[in-house]
C-alpha cells in the first residue's frame, strides 16, 4: 500500500502526564474505508492517543501524517480542518441548546457558514441518508442517550470529517441502539470514511471491525486483521497478557433468605416534574440479585435515586428490612447498610478535584479508624486508598492522584470499589461496569455475586444483557416507568427480555 492509501498514520507517539506515561512510542495506521478497533484495558492510553489525533492533546514526541502528508496540529480546530472528528467518551453536547445549535457550532471552521434553518435542513438530510430521524429543533437535554449519540455523529459528519473517532460509543446504548449504530458505521465505512472504534465489548469487535490495534500500559502490542482473530481469547491475550478468558468464578446463589427491600407502588418524579417511575412494586431478598434490564431513560435512574433516598418519593412506600424508610435521609440509610453506585461518576459519584484517597474516604470519614477526635488520620486514608488501588488494579493511580486525571474506566472502578468494598446489606448498582475493561468487569460482577452469597441483596440496573444474564437470579424489565415483567432467571430468554426492553410483550 502506498502512503496515500492511509487516511492517517501516527508514528512514534509519546505522551506523558505528571507521573504517567500514557502513550509510549505508539504507531497507528488507519486505512481509508476501514473500521479500526482500538482496544486495551482501562488506562491503557486509548483516549489519550485519540485526543492527540483529534488535536485536543499535544504529543510530546511523534509524527502524524494525513493522507501521506505530515501535519502539525495545535488545537481541535486544526484537526477539524483536516477532516478528523471525534465523539468523546463523555459527550460534548450542550444539553441546554437545541440540536441544531449544537451542530452549527463549529461548522464555520470548515467553511460552512449557514443559517440555523439551513443547518437544520442539512441535519435532516444527513440523518435520512443514514436511515434515522432527528428533530433538529429539540433540546438535547430532552433526548435519550442513544439519540444524543446520533447527534454527536451527525455533528462530526457535518463538520466534514473523513476520519471519525468514537470513544466507547456503545457503553451507554441498549442492544437495539447498538445495532442501529453499527448499521450507520458500516455505511460510513462503505463511503470511504475511516472509523476508529474504541470499546471494551469484545463481541462488538468481532462483529464490525476490519482490523484492531491493542494497547497495553501505553504501548502498542500489535495490529491484527479480522481474519487473523480466531476468537475473543486472542484479543484478551493481547490486552492483558493472560491465557484465559476472565471467568465468573462465583455462582449466583440459589437459596434466598429474608426479605431486605420491599417497594410498594412507588411513584417518582423526574427533574422535569413528570412521573418517571409510575407505580413500581417488587422485593429483593438476602442473596438475591435482581437484574433490572431497560433502555436508559425509562425511569431506572429515578428509581435508583428514590431507593437511595437522594430523590423524593411522590407516593408509595419503601421498606428496608421491614422498616419504613420512605422518608429517611440518605446518610441514615447509608448507615443502615444501603450503598448506591450512581451511573454518573463524573458529577455525582466522585469529586473530580479531590484525590483518589479522599474520594475513597468520603462516605466513611465518620467511622472509627479514620477519625481521631476532631481530626482525620491522613496516613490511614492514604493507606486505604493504596490498598484499594492495588486490589482493583487501578492503572497507574496513586492515592494522591487527582480523580480528574484518571481514565474513564479507572474512575468507574474507583467508584464501584468504594461502594462495594464494605459490608452493605443492600447494594443498588446502576450500570456498575460502564466503560470498564473485560477483566475488571468480570471482577466487579464476581464481587457483586460474592456480596449476594454473603447475604446482601443487590439491585443491578443494566442495559447489558450479558450482565443481566450472568449475574442475576431474578430478572425484571423496566419500560416507560413500569415494570413489564419479573422473570425467573431459568425461564427468561434473551430474546424475551430484549423485546420487553422496547415495550413489546412476546409469548
Amino acid at each position: 500500500m502506498s502512503k496515500e492509501d492511509y487516511a492517517v498514520q501516527m508514528r512514534g507517539i509519546t505522551k506523558t502526564f505528571p507521573g504517567v506515561v500514557a502513550n509510549k512510542n505508539v504507531d497507528l495506521d488507519l486505512r481509508k474505508g476501514e473500521i479500526h478497533g482500538l482496544l486495551g484495558e482501562n488506562g491503557a492510553g486509548k483516549t489519550t492517543l485519540m485526543n492527540i489525533l483529534s488535536g485536543f492533546y499535544k504529543p510530546d514526541e511523534g509524527e502524524i501524517y494525513v493522507e501521506g502528508k505530515r501535519v502539525k496540529m495545535h488545537s481541535p480546530k486544526d484537526a477539524l480542518k483536516l477532516g478528523i472528528g471525534m465523539v468523546y467518551q463523555h459527550f460534548t453536547l450542550v444539553p441546554e441548546f437545541k440540536v441544531v445549535e449544537n451542530i452549527m457550532l463549529g461548522m464555520d471552521v470548515v467553511g460552512k457558514k449557514l443559517s440555523l434553518k439551513a443547518t437544520a435542513n442539512l441535519i435532516e438530510e444527513q440523518a435520512k441518508q443514514l436511515g434515522f430521524t432527528v428533530d433538529p429543533w429539540s433540546k438535547v437535554a430532552d433526548l435519550s442517550l442513544g439519540e444524543q449519540q446520533k447527534v454527536e455523529i451527525l455533528k462530526v459528519l457535518l463538520r466534514g470529517a473523513k476520519v471519525i473517532i468514537l470513544d466507547e460509543p456503545t457503553s451507554v446504548l441498549a442492544p437495539v441502539e447498538i445495532a442501529g449504530l453499527f448499521n450507520v458505521l458500516k455505511q460510513l465505512a462503505s463511503q470511504g470514511k475511516s472509523i476508529v472504534f474504541i470499546t471494551h465489548k469484545l463481541n462488538e469487535v468481532m462483529e464490525i471491525c476490519d482490523r484492531i490495534t491493542v494497547l497495553r500500559s501505553g504501548m502498542k502490542i500489535g495490529t491484527l486483521n479480522r481474519s487473523e482473530i480466531a476468537s475473543t481469547l486472542d484479543i484478551i491475550k493481547m490486552m492483558f497478557g493472560v491465557e484465559a478468558e476472565p471467568a465468573l468464578a462465583a455462582e449466583v446463589p440459589k437459596e434466598l433468605g429474608k426479605e431486605v427491600l420491599k417497594v410498594e407502588n412507588l411513584v417518582v418524579e423526574s427533574d422535569r416534574g413528570i412521573d418517571a417511575v409510575k407505580g413500581v412494586s417488587f422485593t429483593i431478598r438476602e442473596g438475591e440479585i435482581l437484574g433490572l434490564a431497560g433502555i436508559d431513560g425509562n425511569g431506572q435512574k429515578e428509581l435508583a435515586e428514590a431507593l437511595s433516598r437522594i430523590r423524593s418519593v411522590k407516593s408509595g412506600k419503601i421498606y428496608f428490612k421491614g422498616e419504613d424508610v420512605t422518608a429517611l435521609s440518605p446518610a441514615d440509610l447509608y448507615l443502615k447498610g444501603v450503598t448506591y453506585i450512581t451511573d454518573d461518576r463524573i458529577s455525582e459519584g466522585l469529586i473530580q478535584d479531590f484525590t483518589l484517597a479522599e474520594n475513597v474516604v468520603l462516605k466513611d470519614f465518620r467511622k472509627n479508624g479514620v477519625k481521631r477526635g476532631l481530626f482525620i488520620d491522613w496516613k490511614k486514608i492514604t493507606e486505604n486508598g493504596r490498598k484499594l488501588a492495588e486490589e482493583y488494579e487501578l492503572a497507574a493511580a496513586k492515592p494522591n492522584s487527582l480523580v480528574q486525571t484518571l481514565s474513564g474506566g479507572t474512575q468507574q472502578k474507583l467508584l464501584v470499589a468504594r461502594e462495594i468494598g464494605g459490608d452493605a446489606s443492600l447494594i443498588i448498582a446502576n450500570q456498575p461496569t460502564h466503560g470498564v475493561d473485560a477483566k475488571t468487569t468480570a471482577y466487579i460482577r464476581k464481587k457483586l455475586i460474592e456480596s449476594a452469597a454473603k447475604g446482601a441483596a443487590v439491585l443491578l440496573i443494566s442495559n447489558d444483557l450479558d450482565e443481566i444474564f450472568s449475574c442475576s437470579n431474578t430478572i425484571a424489565v423496566i419500560y416507560e416507568g413500569r415494570i413489564l415483567g419479573i422473570l425467573d432467571r431459568q425461564s427468561a430468554t434473551r430474546e424475551n427480555v430484549a423485546y420487553l426492553m422496547i415495550g413489546v410483550k412476546k409469548d
Binding site: Y88, H90, T92, F97, M104, V109
Partner: protein, 314 residues
C-alpha cells in the same frame, strides 16, 4: 388639568431614571457577555472608577468631553486586557483578583487625584451631550423623558436589542454562550476558547469604561473619591437577576434607575425631611437586593461560571 407640580415631579423622575440607568446599563450589557462566556468580572467596579478618573483628566486636559469619553473607553479596554490576562491566561481566581483590583482602584484614583489637583477643583469643559428632537421635545412629560436626553442614553438603549440579537441569533453569540456552558464543547468545535474570552472581556471593559466616563463627565460632572459607589456590583447583580438576558437587563437597569431617580427627587424637592437622607439613598441598593433575592433564587448559572479553562484537564 393635572397638578403642574405633580407633572413636574413625574417628568423629573422618569427623565432622570433613564439618565442614571445609563451607566449601569452599559456596564451590565458588557458584563452580560462576560458572564455568558463563563467569566465573573468583579473588576468591573474598578474599571468604571479608573475610567471615570482618566476620562475626567482627559476632558480637562483637552477641553473636550468627547475626547474624555474616548479616554475612558480606552482605559476600559486596557484594564480589561490586563484582567483577561489574569483570568484567562494565568487562570487566577476571578473573585480574588476582581475584588483586589476594584479595591486598589479606589486608593489609586483618590491618591492621584489629590496629587494632581490638591484641593482645587478643575472645571470640566462645557458638554453638549443633550440631543433635543425639535417639536417632539415639547410634548408634555414624554418630550422631556424621551426626546431631550444626552446621546449616551440613546446609544445605550439602542445597544440592548443589538446585544440581544447578537447573543441569541448569531454564530458569535452561540460561541459565547457555549463557553459558559462548557468550554470543552467549544474547544472541540474549533472555537478558540482563549480568544473569545479575551474578546468578551474587551467588550465588557469598553462598556464599563464608557459607563464610568459618563458618570464623571456628565452625571456627576466631577471626580470624587470612590464615586462609582458600587454601581459596578449593582450591574453584576442585575445581570444575574436578569438571567443573563440583555432585554431583562434593560428592565433591571431601569428599576435601579427609577429608584435612584426617586431618591434624588425626594432630596431635591426637599420632601420628607423627616426621613434621614441615608435611608433614601439606600433605596436603589435595597431594591437591587430584593430583586436579586426574589428573581435570581432559581437562576441557572452558566455551568462553567468563574472557572478557568485548561485543555489537558477533564
Amino acid at each position: 388639568m393635572i397638578d403642574p407640580i405633580l407633572t413636574m415631579f413625574i417628568t423629573f423622575i422618569l427623565a432622570s431614571m433613564l439618565r442614571v440607568a445609563t451607566p449601569i446599563l452599559l456596564a451590565a450589557l458588557g458584563e452580560c457577555y462576560v458572564e455568558n462566556a463563563g467569566i465573573l468580572n468583579l473588576g468591573i467596579e474598578g474599571i468604571m472608577l479608573f475610567s471615570a478618573f482618566t476620562s475626567f483628566l482627559g476632558a480637562v486636559a483637552t477641553n473636550s468631553s468627547l475626547i474624555g469619553l474616548g479616554v475612558g473607553l480606552c482605559t476600559g479596554l486596557v484594564l480589561a486586557l490586563i484582567l483577561a490576562v489574569l483570568y484567562v491566561t494565568l487562570k487566577s481566581d476571578q473573585i480574588v483578583v476582581g475584588i483586589a483590583f476594584s479595591l486598589s482602584a479606589i486608593g489609586f484614583t483618590s491618591l492621584y487625584f489629590r496629587i494632581l489637583y490638591g484641593t482645587t477643583l478643575p472645571r470640566l469643559p462645557v458638554k453638549e451631550w443633550i440631543v433635543t428632537v425639535p417639536q417632539l421635545a415639547d410634548v408634555p412629560i414624554i418630550g422631556r423623558v424621551f426626546f431631550n436626553q444626552p446621546f449616551m442614553v440613546y446609544v445605550s438603549i439602542a445597544l440592548v436589542p443589538i446585544f440581544y440579537y447578537i447573543l441569541y441569533r448569531t454564530r458569535f453569540g452561540l460561541k459565547v454562550r457555549t463557553l459558559g456552558e462548557n468550554p470543552v464543547v467549544a474547544d472541540t468545535a474549533g472555537v478558540n476558547v482563549f480568544l473569545y474570552r479575551y474578546i468578551v472581556m474587551l467588550i465588557g471593559g469598553m462598556l464599563a469604561g464608557v459607563g464610568g466616563a459618563y458618570l464623571s463627565l456628565y452625571q456627576v460632572s466631577l471626580f470624587q473619591d470612590n464615586m462609582i459607589q458600587g454601581r459596578g456590583y449593582v450591574a453584576i447583580a442585575i445581570v444575574m437577576f436578569a438571567r443573563w438576558n440583555p432585554l431583562k437587563i434593560l428592565a433591571g437597569a431601569l428599576l435601579y434607575g427609577g429608584a435612584e431617580a426617586f431618591a434624588g427627587a425626594i432630596q431635591a424637592l426637599g420632601y420628607l425631611r423627616t426621613i434621614p437622607a441615608e435611608i433614601v439613598l439606600m433605596l436603589p441598593y435595597l431594591i437591587t437586593i430584593v430583586g436579586l433575592v426574589v428573581l435570581a433564587r432559581r437562576a441557572r448559572f452558566p455551568p462553567a461560571f468563574a472557572r478557568p479553562y485548561r485543555r489537558e484537564m477533564r
